[in-house]
Structure formats: structure tokens, C-alpha cells
Amino acid sequence: MSEPLHRDHMTTDEWLAWAGADADTRGLPELKPLIEALAAAQRTLRAADWNEDAAGGGPDAARAENARPGDPDAAESRP
């Protein structure tokens, strides 16, 4: 892990870039498709409407930050 994780909150895109680079560094490029699948799951997890917000707001901010337009995994996660 050559780079610091992040200064405050790591978005899914930032996490994906870091994890993919780390897999390359460790000589595990075959891990990258799995990490991409995990990124889709992470977006879904962070966008879930049961996530809590210390400011007392709803989950909209997290959803806006993490869900990418047209991301089918995020869209299909909703009941």
C-alpha cells in the first residue's frame, strides 16, 4: 500500500483506483475484475436507504456521491 488511504472519505471511484493499483503492485492483476464487481457492491451498499447520517439527514447525499448514472448494479439494488 504505497499511497495513504485518504484524508477524509474515500469514494468508490477513489477506492477502485487504489485497490486496482494495489493489486497490480502485488502481482495479482487477475484480482481486478473481482475488485470491480466489489466496487459495484460497495456503491449499492453506500446508497442503501437504511444508511445513517450523523447530521440527521437522509441518505440522499451518499446516494448522489456514490451512485453513478446508468450503473445497473446500483439501480437493481432497490426493491
Binding site: A19, L28, L31, Q42, L45, A48, W50, S77, P79
Partner: protein, 453 residues
């Protein structure tokens, strides 16, 4: 009785042994002969403890002759998934990582089975470290489904299900972290019980994900599964005592969760499930639709819990000996190292939400009912299959309808409910209230004669 004796249920065999009409040595010898004849093809067992088993069987027969009965499993051949410690025998977890390991003592569940009189015939094959649903990533060769040897038996307790189906053992003990008892039971046509989380001790059992792991039986009937569960819980009934009191089917209220559960189902699986519901209604049960609103978040929550928990357990060995893991299992363990703590915490919250929703779905019914697997047994090694014209991941499908109850901890059982036109079994899953596994078993015992084809 037209079936060979070693294909009968414990409830049929135990009285024969107790009465001296059947010797444990004959029964054990018959099971060992099946292993000898079929294990090269089916690869159900990793270790066969033939000499030890025959020694135990001789002891049981001598005790019977002396008028002594150890318990309700007296003289019954049982196998253990090779994640569960049996003293003096290797626990391989189907992995080269464990080469050279020999268990010093029995796991508590093994000790309780031994105390109840079980005869241990061997350790069964599995998906390496239980980290998969097909039993094909194993250092001991892919397990094959006896109904069609080109197909997976499901997993991870694949060898256990194959063993009891083919007469290699009368019952088996497995583990279930995302469905690993219920999945192979459904794919092979056996009964598989995952009790409430934490009811049976998991000490002496190689973990996959400690907060999701459950120990439980695979058996030929609900009554047998019930008996094995009681024995492993430390409440073995006296030999000959009654323990399996089925609920009356009339008045039974069954909840059917349809959204998400019925979104992706093989047509024949859907058909067998619908027929089962119709038979249950005809017998007097009432079925009502219920909802688990966030069921579609299950896989996401599950991944963010199971992967890092597995990575933590394997951290030292995967750094030291990565080449000893099968490639797919190694990659899944490595994935877990990338899950962030805050996402693991989010998943914990999601788990609480699901648990509450399943509790609510059960509030007005006796049990939930749903298919165990959305597809029949897939071809060995297939990464994807077609369902209703869409290509779907085999791994995701196999876990789709079972893993939610590992997250929530509710007890769940799979019983056979007929087969596809190609003869591949389908499973009917019944889910009960937490901390009331016996109530679930009573419902399952009531449903069993109506849905088992």
C-alpha cells in the same frame, strides 16, 4: 423394505440395531463398500477411516449384546465434513494449506455424536475452506452429483450430501455460512438443516466467516435431522424416545416472500415449488404473501461481511503459502483485504435491517417458504448459466435464496420437493423464528410428506 438397509433413515435403523436384528458392523461394512465402489468417481470423501469405524462398530455391537445402548445414534455410520475436527484424523478443509494437520481432540459436536453412539466412517470433501457453492475448487478433486456426474452436487458441503445419498454414510454433519448445508441438500435431494445462529458450538470447526458460520446436519429425513440437531445441541433424547412431533398441517400458516425471491427462478424449479404449495394448501395449510423489503440488498451486505472475515482468518497463511490455495479461493480471500472498515460497519447495519424484516415477515405466520436454489445443479465448473433467457453467475444464483438467513440467523431447512425432467432434485426451503429451531422442525416434519416426491 426393498431398499438396502444402509439406505434407510436413522429412525428405521436404530431400532433394528437396538433389537439385535442388525449389527453395526454389517451396516458400517455396507457403507464402506459403497465408498470403495463409488468414491473414485464421486470424490465424496477425502479421508476414509475404515479400520477405526469397524472398531467402533464392533464395540457398539458388543455393547448391544451386553444390553447397553450409548444413545440414539448407537451404531449408526456418520460422516463429518472435513472442516470438523475428529481426534486423531486430519482436518484438511480440502486444502493443501492444511497438509500435515491432525486434530488432537474432537470438536464439541463430534464429541456429542460419539457420546450418542455414532460410528465415524470418514471426512467428506468440500469446496476448499467452504469458500464456494459448487465443491469443485478443492485440492481433492471436484465432487460429482450422483444424479448426473457432469453436474455439481452444490456446496460447500457437497461430499456430505453425496455420501448420504449414495449409502456411503447414513447421515453427515456440515457447515453453512451462506447456504452450504442447504444448497447441496437441495442439489442432491437430501434434507439439510441450518439451526439458529449460535445454537450449535462451532469450536473445533475451521471457520469461514465466524459471524455467519453455522454447524448442522444433512440427513435422509426431517426426523433424522431433528435427532442429529438435538444430539449436537447436547440434548440427545434417550434411545427409543420420541422427539419428532410434527405440527398438524391443517391451520398451518406459511408466508411466501415473492418479490426478489421469485424474480429469478428456473421454470422447472418454479413449477415444483408451485406444486408443493398447492399440495400443502390442499392438505389444509394456508399460504399468504409476505415481504422482506430489502432482500435485494442481501448479496451486497453478505459480501462486505463474509469477505473481510475470511481474509482475517487466512491472512497469515495466504501471505506465507499463497500457492497452496486453489486459484479461485485464493482470489476470493484476497478480495476481502480490500473491504474498508466503514463498509463492513455499513454491512452490519444492513444485517440488522434484514433481521428485523425477516422477524416482521414471520410475525403473523408459522414459517416462511421459498425455493432453496433458484436453479437445478449446474454443470461442474460453469461460471454462468442461462435462466429465463438471461445469463447469470452460478455463484450468485446458488447463494441467492439462502445467504439472507445466515445474515439474519434464522433457522432454515431444505427438504426435497421433486425433480426436473432431467432428474435433478429441487429443494423446498422453510424458515422459522430465531431461537425456535424445534418449531421449524415441527413445521418441516408436517410439510415433508406433502412435498417430497
Amino acid at each position: 423394505m426393498n431398499e438396502p438397509l444402509h439406505f434407510l433413515a436413522i429412525t428405521e435403523l436404530a431400532p433394528l440395531i437396538a433389537a439385535g436384528h442388525l449389527s453395526s458392523v454389517d451396516l458400517t461394512t455396507a457403507c464402506l463398500a459403497e465408498i470403495e465402489a463409488h468414491n473414485d468417481a464421486l470424490r465424496a470423501f477425502i479421508t476414509v477411516t475404515a479400520e477405526e469405524a469397524l472398531g467402533q462398530a464392533r464395540e457398539r455391537d458388543a455393547e448391544t449384546a451386553a444390553g447397553r445402548c450409548r444413545g440414539p445414534l448407537h451404531g449408526i455410520p456418520v460422516s463429518l465434513k472435513d472442516l470438523i475436527d475428529q481426534r486423531g484424523v486430519a482436518t484438511t478443509a480440502a486444502s493443501r494449506v492444511r497438509d500435515g494437520h491432525i486434530a488432537a481432540i474432537d470438536a464439541p459436536v463430534t464429541a456429542r455424536l460419539r457420546e450418542a453412539g455414532a460410528v465415524f466412517v470418514g471426512k467428506t470433501n468440500l469446496h476448499e475452506f467452504a469458500f464456494g457453492t459448487t465443491s469443485d475448487d478443492t485440492a481433492y478433486g471436484a465432487v460429482r452429483n450422483p444424479h448426473d456426474q457432469t453436474r455439481s452436487p452444490g456446496g460447500s458441503s457437497g461430499g456430505s450430501a453425496v455420501g448420504i445419498l449414495t449409502g456411503m454414510s447414513v447421515a453427515s454433519i456440515g457447515t453453512d455460512t451462506g447456504g452450504s448445508i442447504r444448497i447441496p441438500s437441495a442439489a442432491c435431494g437430501a434434507v439439510g438443516l441450518k439451526p439458529t445462529y449460535g445454537e450449535l458450538p462451532a469450536d473445533g470447526v475451521v471457520p469461514l466467516s465466524r459471524s455467519l458460520d453455522h454447524v448442522g446436519p444433512l440427513a435422509r429425513s426431517v426426523a433424522d435431522a431433528w435427532l442429529l440437531y438435538l444430539v449436537m445441541r447436547g440434548n440427545a433424547p434417550a434411545a427409543g424416545a420420541s422427539w419428532a412431533d410434527a405440527r398438524r398441517i391443517s391451520g398451518l400458516r406459511l408466508g411466501v416472500p415473492r418479490p426478489y425471491v421469485h424474480d429469478i427462478l428456473d421454470d422447472e424449479v418454479r413449477g415444483r415449488f408451485a406444486e408443493s404449495l398447492a399440495w400443502l394448501r390442499q392438505a389444509g395449510a394456508e399460504t399468504v404473501d409476505v415481504a422482506i423489503p430489502h432482500a435485494s440488498d442481501t448479496a451486497t451486505i453478505y459480501q462486505h461481511m463474509s469477505l473481510p472475515e475470511a481474509a482475517a482468518y487466512h491472512a497469515a497463511s495466504i501471505d506465507a503459502h499463497p500457492e497452496r490455495y486453489t486459484p479461485n479461493v485464493r482470489l476470493r480471500i484476497e478480495m476481502g483485504r480490500y473491504v474498508l472498515a466503514e463498509d463492513y460497519a455499513r454491512a452490519q447495519r444492513g444485517r440488522e435491517i434484514l433481521r428485523a424484516e425477516v422477524d416482521r415477515a414471520l410475525a403473523e405466520v408459522d414459517a416462511l417458504v421459498l425455493p432453496t436454489l433458484p436453479i437445478p445443479a449446474p454443470p461442474i465448473g460453469a461460471p454462468t448459466v442461462e435462466v429465463s433467457g438471461k445469463t447469470e453467475s452460478v455463484r450468485n444464483l446458488m447463494l441467492r435464496l439462502t445467504q439472507i438467513f445466515n445474515l439474519t440467523g434464522h433457522p432454515a431447512i431444505s427438504i426435497p420437493c421433486g425433480s426436473t425432467a432431467d432428474g435433478l432434485p429441487c429443494g423446498f426451503q422453510i424458515v422459522g423464528r430465531r431461537d425456535d429451531t424445534e418449531a421449524l422442525l415441527a413445521v418441516a416434519a408436517a410439510c415433508e410428506p406433502r412435498v417430497v416426491a
